[in-house]
């Protein structure tokens, strides 16, 4: 599904290198977790995968379903099946949530050569998905994320993920700012999407989320590189010993 080789990326504006040779392979149907201290480059990696042009890739390659991901525009990546649930979802005044959802779904369908959704079909899909995530009709009527609480924003990200049915879901600290009930809801939403054709990259600072979304593989990221890889027990180890070992070692 995803093959990252020796990926180096720097901040376009000032040239600071953030990713310093990331290697990561995710097979179809697998859930990988990346843990690591703040500032280690987790969000940068997810943004580079989604195509944010604040960053310049200086070395390395990323293949997604065998295609060169780095050559694609962000919208092409999304249509190809990449979805990033943002750590900090933005507020967009003046763009109604429903209008946005429909535009996104139809843009992706169009890029894949499918027909646009009819309004009744669209409404039905949104109703189903939003009900499960407890995203209210009232929220859907508001401008995108405007006035949403932190938890509502995160649920809205998972709602989008559910509607867009991506093949690689990248969750960047989706657990931050969630209380335990919201965390369960979000985890259920994510787990419902697990399947043999869908992979996930779950970025988190805490082990807690991984009790609900159980990963196949856990990586530790520090100072722009993956410094350790193991099974789900690695997350528990980290919970006990903390990141100090890696911060010093890297």
């Amino acid at each position: 599904m995803l093959e990252i080789r020796n990926l180096h990326a720097r901040i376009a504006e000032d040239g600071t290198e953030i990713l310093k040779g990331v290697d990561l392979t995710i097979e179809a149907g697998k859930v990988h977790a990346i843990m690591g201290p703040n500032g280690s480059g987790k969000s940068t990696l997810s943004n580079v995968l989604a195509g944010k042009d604040d960053y310049e890739v200086t070395e390395g390659s990323v293949l997604f379903k065998g295609e060169d991901l780095l050559e694609m525009e962000p919208d092409e990546r999304a249509a190809a099946g990449i979805f990033l649930a943002f750590q900090y979802p933005v507020e967009i005044p003046g763009v109604a949530t429903m209008t946005f959802l429909k535009a996104a779904m139809n843009a992706q369908r169009k890029a894949r050569g499918q027909n646009e959704l009819t309004t009744p079909d669209f409404m039905r899909l949104v109703k189903e998905a939003s009900g499960k995530l407890q995203v209210s009709q009232e929220m859907l009527r508001r401008p995108l994320n405007v006035g949403f609480s932190g938890g509502e924003k995160k649920r809205n990200e998972i709602l989008q993920m559910t509607l867009l049915q991506p093949s690689l879901c990248i969750l960047d600290e989706t657990d931050s700012g969630l209380d335990i009930d919201a965390l369960r809801l979000v985890a259920e939403g994510v787990n419902a999407l697990r399947g043999p054709e869908r992979s996930m990259l779950v970025i988190t600072h805490y082990q807690r989320l991984l009790e609900y979304i159980v990963p196949d593989v856990v990586h530790v990221m520090s100072k722009g590189r993956i410094v350790k890889t193991g099974g789900k027990e690695l997350a528990l180890e980290l919970e006990k010993s903390g990141y100090a070992e890696f911060v010093d070692a890297a």
Binding site: E73, P74, A78, F86, V90, V95
Partner: protein, 407 residues
């Protein structure tokens, strides 16, 4: 106005003077309007076309920009359809039946600042409409009038609106000529009586080469509400002078405008709000979306007179640039003589926000469409609170403009 008296001297000014001399006796209503027209032209002649050293024209040098004056032509007025509570007469009819009263209404134009351009309009306007809304009328359909200036020629029009007490109505006017190259102006006087509720929309569609200098003179009575939307979607040079005075207390004015300009267009709206009575609320929100080398100017002044306690006045100008070469100027001014007031102003200029653009693109929306969504969202704020059908009609104008301007 801080300008020395000067003679009319540029070729454009001289041509206007000779046009006035030739036409004044033949213009409709010469017997009743003649004196007022002569006085208006004399005011114009005393200063000529305003140039950038005239404070109100600092950003819009009419003398430099209006080098050639077109020959006079016929303005086409489209009168509103008949409906209950609305009385419509053409200017010519109204002058024939009620000349003295009409002359008085025209002479009473309130803008709060000298405008040689509106004086010119007054001197030449020979087409127009008189639209009166009966007291207490709840007018169902929007009242629509059109003032199309002649392509390649010069034309001036005037509309007199009065809205009786307690009436509620939406007035929509289209000014200018999309056929191109027209010069001229359209000036409306709107008298809003106590307790009336008026939505007033002007769409200036002056065509690619059009020069339009329009005006809006509004008085708002006690407890009345006046909502304005000014949309300028085309015109090489469009200047709109707006004056609004509260003549009764506890009234509300929401004044909104949208300048859409590309190429080398220049759109200037200059506004004066006179809080002459206590307890009134005024909100000004003027937005511009600018492409290429276009320039937008918004000048707004709020005057709060000594007796106008509990005034609440806020003014905001926002520009969104689609190109590096566009320019937006805003000059807000507050002049406050009362002590218990809340007034403020602000302005912003920016480009489409990259972070928001990335978010939309990361969901699969292509750049052009994502940009369109964000620009529409920016512009769309001026349509908030309008009746849904009317909001749709004018957001379609903005969408159509955007379709043409997004790369």
């Amino acid at each position: 106005m801080n300008v020395q008296v000067q003679r009319v001297e540029t070729p454009a000014e001289l041509k206007l003077a000779s046009q006035f001399a030739e036409r004044k006796d033949a213009l409709v209503g010469a017997d009743t309007l003649g004196a007022g027209r002569a006085a208006a032209f004399a005011r114009f002649e005393a200063v000529g076309l305003p140039h950038r050293r005239v404070e109100e024209f600092k950003y819009t040098d009419m003398r430099a920009r209006l080098r050639e004056v077109a020959d006079a032509g016929e303005t086409q007025v489209t009168l509103p359809d008949a409906q209950g509570g609305v009385r419509v007469t053409s200017l010519a009819e109204a002058l024939a039946s009620d000349g003295a009263a009409i002359a008085e209404r025209i002479a009473e134009r309130f803008t709060g600042f000298d405008s040689p351009l509106l004086d010119l309009n007054e001197a030449f306007a020979s087409a127009g409409a008189v639209i009166d809304i009966a007291a207490g009328a709840n007018v169902a359909e929007p009242v629509r009038a059109g003032f199309a200036h002649p392509a390649g020629k010069r034309g001036d029009s005037v509309a007199l609106y009065s809205v009786g007490s307690g009436a509620s109505v939406t007035l929509i006017e289209k000014a200018g000529s999309a056929d191109g190259g027209a010069q001229g102006g359209h000036v409306s006087h709107v008298d809003v009586a106590d307790g009336a509720k008026v939505t007033f929309i002007r769409h200036v569609d002056a065509g690619a080469q059009g020069v339009h200098s329009g005006g809006l003179a509004v008085t708002v009575g006690a407890n009345a509400t006046f909502d304005l939307l000014l949309v300028v979607s085309t015109g090489e040079l469009v200047r709109t002078d707006i004056g609004l005075r509260f003549v009764g207390g506890d009234a509300v004015a929401n004044l909104r405008g949208l300048h859409l300009a590309g190429s080398t267009r220049h759109v200037d709206t200059t506004l004066f709000v006179d809080h002459a009575e206590p307890g009134c609320v005024s909100r000004e929100l003027f937005k511009s979306v600018l492409d290429d080398r276009a320039r937008s100017v918004f000048q707004g002044k709020i005057l709060v007179r000594q007796k106008a306690q509990k005034t609440d006045g806020k003014m905001m100008a926002q520009a969104l640039m689609l190109s590096d070469d566009a320019e937006a100027d805003s000059k807000p001014e507050l002049e406050i003589y009362a002590d218990d007031v809340q007034c403020g102003h602000g302005s912003t200029t920016g480009r489409v926000d990259d972070t928001l653009l990335f978010y939309l693109m990361a969901r699969g929306i292509p750049k052009r469409e994502a940009t369109r969504m964000l620009v529409s969202a920016f512009a769309g704020e001026v349509f908030d609170d309008l009746d849904e059908a009317v909001a749709e009609e004018f957001s379609a104008v903005a969408e159509e403009w955007l379709e043409r301007h997004l790369a």
